[in-house]
Symmetry: C2
């Protein structure tokens, strides 16, 4: 199953010419989740070439404005498009109050908002994956988000199955799903006899805004990808502590401790150059990237290769752009 993490907004607090405020898209199979929804998130989706897709859920890591100001416009655009599917919005305590405050801006919606506050634990399950919240350490209630895939069964050994007298067909599928089967000859075959060792699954952990903390390290233990904030550089470590943010160096230390496969730094202050952040982090953890807006990480299953970072704008420059006038959104 494909798994992509697309960086739609990588700036801290205020946007820059090149970076929008926080928004990260996770796409797994046909399911699309947005983590944080800074001002302009809907337009970043449009500009990326992905388009104004019907998100399946939105997770807000905390309720600072640079993480949610894109929500009213996005919800209004869905309504103008007459979206019908309910939309789950998850966030820390205070989310319901925030949505009540936003309601006059949003107006009547064409679909149900399913609002759920959570400080920790399972948020939803979907096609063999779980999305969980874990508490983090910011200046207001805050959570990190972990997408964890279920362990995949081992590879099916066709030769072994045939050798045990299992005919090709439905019995293969039952064994692959972990069921015992009986062969036409009356023998019982257990899944373990025909399946290799369970294969590693993938996980993506997003820190949201936080001090470097044990909770993030625990959630990220062995993760395929940790997306960690790096608002500051080590030279501003005190300011980071004061504002309950992290430095690039601290994020790298945490990634090393947690043994993640890849660290992606985001939420960079406009005063931090991506190159400096990358250098500072790389000195402590080499598998680090500092994605720009519109860069996308593809995360293949571990046995199929390394993560691949692509610039979606470069791709869309190669592909024809739909002409203006081709959209199907009615107007107010």
């Amino acid at each position: 199953m494909d798994l992509f993490v697309t960086f739609l907004g990588t700036a801290a607090s205020v946007p820059t010419a090149g970076r929008s405020t926080s928004a990260t898209l996770i796409s797994r199979g046909g399911v699309r989740w947005l983590v944080d929804c800074g001002e302009g998130a809907q337009r970043q989706l449009l500009r990326s070439g992905i388009g104004l897709i019907d998100l399946d859920a939105i997770f807000l890591t905390h309720l600072h404005a640079d993480h949610y100001l894109g929500l009213p416009g996005l919800l209004k655009s869905y309504t103008l498009r007459e979206r019908e599917a309910p939309l789950g919005v998850f966030g820390p305590p205070g989310l319901e109050q925030l949505l009540r405050t936003l309601r006059p801006l949003i107006g009547r919606l064409s679909f149900d908002l399913e609002i759920a506050e959570a400080s920790a634990g399972l948020l939803l399950e979907e096609s063999g994956s779980r999305v969980e919240a874990f508490p983090t350490a910011h200046s207001i209630p805050s959570i990190g988000i972990a997408l964890v895939e279920a362990t995949r069964p081992g590879e099916f050994d066709v030769d072994a199955a045939c050798g045990l007298g299992v005919p090709e067909g439905p019995l293969f599928g039952r064994l692959q799903r972990g069921e015992m089967v009986t062969t036409p000859a009356g023998d019982t075959v257990a899944p373990a006899q025909v399946l290799g060792p369970a294969r590693p699954s993938r996980s993506v952990v997003l820190s949201g805004d936080t001090l470097p903390c044990e909770m993030t390290a625990n959630a990220a233990r062995g993760a395929t990808l940790l997306v960690h904030e790096a608002t500051f550089l080590d030279e501003d470590r005190e300011r980071a502590a004061e504002t309950q943010h992290s430095t690039a160096g601290q994020a790298a230390e945490l990634a090393a401790e947690a043994g993640v496969g890849l660290l992606a730094l985001t939420h960079l202050s406009s005063r931090v150059s991506p190159r400096d952040a990358e250098q500072e982090a790389a000195a402590r953890f080499s598998a680090v990237v500092v994605p720009r807006d519109f860069e996308q990480l593809e995360l293949p299953y571990p046995e199929r290769g390394e993560p691949i970072l692509t610039d979606l704008r470069a791709r869309s420059r190669r592909e024809p752009v739909p002409p203006e006038g081709a959209a199907t959104v009615p107007d107010e």
Copy 2:
């Protein structure tokens, strides 16, 4: 005095990949006014290369979300930068209530917001210009905005002044300012004796969202520039009437009736191609442009030439872009 109109958001209702929601910057001398403030307006300023300038006032033509959702983020960014100068926000009745609703999102500001509701009349005066509101015809209370410069005195005839015995120096200035002076020989010289006929000034009129209406035509009579909405094409004339918007053709008819110098169409539905809008309008009024986001109209004094349309992105591609890490905005 220089006068620029910069198109920062030319989409209707929902943004597209190329067009942000409503925002138009008027710059005259050192004064900068924003008309409407759709989601992402602050980022459009940054992306244009103009930067996050300290606006002198913001005018909201009406209180639909696509015209104000950029306000909370902009005001927060100003506060992070520790802006001190008060900021006037003008709009139709309902503005104060809207700002109360937005207040929890905006939080504490480092400067005073001076909120003024108006349905018509003078909003402010600044360096020989007046900004006025006029009522328009939309589905909720709505205003158009007119910037009208005071008439400029005629050209100063140095030879005539010298011939009348006025010595070069302070007396020249007093005559130019319209004062009577007495020459060293004791003769009285009146301004009319040394000044040519009063020279035409400039005016910029923005319709906001509206049906084509007499109020806009009156306000735009002889205007240098009319920025008129063109949400639809004539083929959707009924839908335009229903939603109290205009078609490109209707905007052109109004521009012709008002005898404006130039018509700029904005607020295009995502289904309307700019080329179609321009063609439809040009059949009825030839001095028409359909600016893209980041295009800027320079409006010289009439005797100095025609308006000039420039693409600011093309200019910024030629000029060095400030490196990331060079900004001076503290972080939350």
